[in-house]
């Protein structure tokens, strides 16, 4: 479909806004990656942190800086660039909104980071009560979230403008996807904003003595699960829309892609209980309901897998591939823009399989609070999502800075992804295996008083340190490539690949753009899944907890 608003190139003013996000994101990668390396070394039992630095402080840095900062900044930068490219340059008002959002997020990040570095907020990235951080840490997190809302408002304003100017037309696919992810993020972050503003902040300031732990954890996970889809959907944007263009093929179906994103909006949020399956205070019937809803959110991921296989096969066959899997050979195996996200797609197969295990109600007992879970999300976010983000950076950064991806950098990008895969196989593989043997997540190195079971875990922890060290080499390479593409690569034109649907006559049904309907169903599902158990958690609450600083 012809889209008159689509630009050949992102406007330099919008490019600057997107690049600002990427500078923060890649700084976070360097800091968080170093913290991750140190953690795996400590847990091997062969290394101790110098100068009295605590393991849990480093763990907090790693989780906050990579899980919250790297992801949110990269995603916002990518979505702003994608919206500007497909729906047209932002107006000054929209761009200023974006900048306000960016600076608020950055100020919040600096504030939270300073409190972590001062050892005033060693509460891990989940900041579970009754661990109590300094109030400024909670204020910092609040600024990051409010900033992201304002950043997202720029995308919503652009979308509304496009719809006004193109009545009766479905919005450009990348804009549509950015919008869905932004709306899901806003609905989800209401949960974490509520617990921080109404529970944790007054409690850390001393206005109230105690806090209701069950409520705070429920509000956190109301946000915490859609958070992982907020990470994943931008990767799916690249898989659905960018990858087909990169390989020279077509999007299998524009409507299928939109439907899967709508399903993510509906089913990503009312599922937080699957992170609380072992917790008291929530009736098992309500847990079971949310388990069912969790399994519904598997469907759009399976639709995505089908759609990608079909895109690849159609492309391969159009190039004369024969046999059942002959099309695999026709894919561009020398192109980092394809290979790096492709490795991410492959990693999502074991990642998804592990996720289904985690969510299976009673079966969660096998893996709950073990390092299997850490292994799981290092496949999802730290491989599938992050490698896709790296793959996106290889064309997006030079596109925005007016440079090109050279052959040497393309090759280095592929080497980087191979190193990442090797490191992650060691680290995440060992985490999965030892998790099944009962090794706990989060905790520092301990021999547990010489317990024989704990002694079994140590070889796996050494394997994690080997994997972590290989991954750190991958991080150094990535930072090197980023700096090259941002400042030193030769000037030129790098394409922003946006795929076209296989069936150009296919017009996406307008019902997909009916936000009253979709947000309405989203709210109904959330109220259905949460209202009664939430009332239970308040009415039948045990005495509240005072704050602890255990570090």
């Amino acid at each position: 479909m012809f889209n008159p608003s689509a630009k050949l190139k992102v406007d330099p003013r919008d490019a600057k806004l997107a690049m600002a996000h990427f500078f923060v994101a890649f700084t976070a990668l360097a800091i968080g990656g170093l913290a991750g390396l140190l953690q795996t070394l400590v847990r091997s039992g062969k290394f101790e942190l110098p100068a009295g630095i605590g393991y849990y402080q480093i763990l907090t840095v790693h989780g906050v800086v990579l899980g919250l900062v790297l992801t949110t900044f990269f995603i916002m930068g990518f979505q702003l660039a994608a919206t500007s490219k497909t729906s047209g340059t932002f107006t000054n008002k929209q761009r200023i909104t974006g900048w306000i959002g960016f600076w608020l997020m950055t100020a919040g990040t600096v504030l939270a980071a300073v409190m972590i570095l001062l050892n005033e907020a060693t509460v891990l990235y989940t900041f579970y009560a009754p661990l109590q951080a300094h109030a400024l840490y909670y204020i910092g997190l609040t600024l990051v979230i409010v900033g992201s809302w304002i950043d997202g408002a720029a995308i919503i304003m652009k979308y509304a403008e496009w719809r006004r100017k193109n009545p009766g037309q479905p919005s450009p696919l990348l804009t549509f996807m950015s919008l869905v992810n932004t709306m899901m993020w806003i609905v989800a972050t209401i949960g974490v904003a509520s617990t921080v503003l109404f529970q944790l902040l007054p409690w850390s300031l001393g206005f109230v003595e105690t806090v209701n732990i069950g409520v705070s954890r429920t509000l956190f996970w109301y946000f915490g699960h859609p958070l992982v889809y907020f990470w994943l959907l931008p990767a799916y944007m690249a898989w659905y829309v960018v990858i087909p263009k990169v390989i020279g093929g077509k999007i299998f179906s524009d409507s299928l892609a939109r439907l899967s994103f709508i399903l993510f909006l509906l089913f990503s949020i009312p599922v937080g209980f699957h992170h609380q399956l072992m917790e008291p205070g929530i009736d098992p019937a309500w847990k079971f309901l949310q388990v069912i809803l969790t399994f519904l959110v598997v469907i759009p991921s399976l639709m995505t897998a089908f759609s990608l296989f079909a895109t690849f096969e159609n492309f391969g066959r159009s190039k004369g591939a024969t046999g059942l899997f002959g099309w695999v050979k026709k894919l561009p195996w020398g192109d980092a823009r394809f290979v790096v996200p492709f490795i991410g797609m492959v990693a999502f197969i074991p990642a998804g399989a592990g996720g289904i295990v985690n969510a299976s109600h009673q079966m969660n007992q096998v893996v709950h609070n073990t390092i299997w879970v850490t292994g799981h999300f290092h496949l999802t976010v730290a491989t599938s999502v992050v490698l896709t983000f790296f793959g996106v950076s290889y064309w997006l950064i030079p596109h925005l800075t007016g440079r090109t991806l050279t052959k040497a950098m393309n090759k280095l990008g592929i080497i980087q992804a191979v190193i990442w895969s090797i490191g992650m196989t060691f680290m995440s593989g060992a985490m999965h295996a030892v998790g099944l043997l009962g090794a706990p997540r989060r905790s520092s190195y301990s021999e547990y008083g010489g317990a024989p079971q704990a002694a079994e875990w140590i070889p796996y922890q050494v394997a994690q340190a080997i994997g972590g060290s290989i991954l750190f080499i991958g991080i150094i390479l990535m930072i090197y490539i980023f700096i090259n593409l941002a400042f030193f690569a030769p000037k030129g034109e790098q394409e922003f690949p946006v795929g076209e649907a296989a069936d150009e006559a296919e017009k996406a049904p307008m019902v997909f753009e009916n936000w009253k309907l979709w947000l309405g169903i989203t709210v109904v599902l959330i109220l259905f899944a949460y209202t009664i158990p939430f009332i239970d958690l308040i009415q039948n609450a045990p005495p509240g907890a005072k704050g602890y600083k255990l570090w």
Binding site: A305, F309, S318, V366
Partner: protein, 49 residues
């Protein structure tokens, strides 16, 4: 004359339709992998709890 052209055009369209056998096989393999993983941990669960 017009008739011949019409029939030739139809022929090309049939040729252009492509097969998705490989996709079918791939999604089945993916499904089997999910099932095997799940059953594996399920057996572990049964043996422990």
């Amino acid at each position: 004359m017009a008739k011949t052209e019409l029939s030739r055009k139809t022929k090309t369209e049939i040729k252009a339709s492509s097969s998705l056998k490989g996709t079918l096989a791939s999604v089945f393999l993916l499904g089997f992998f999910l099932i095997i993983t799940w059953v594996g941990v399920y057996l572990l669960f049964i043996s422990r709890f």
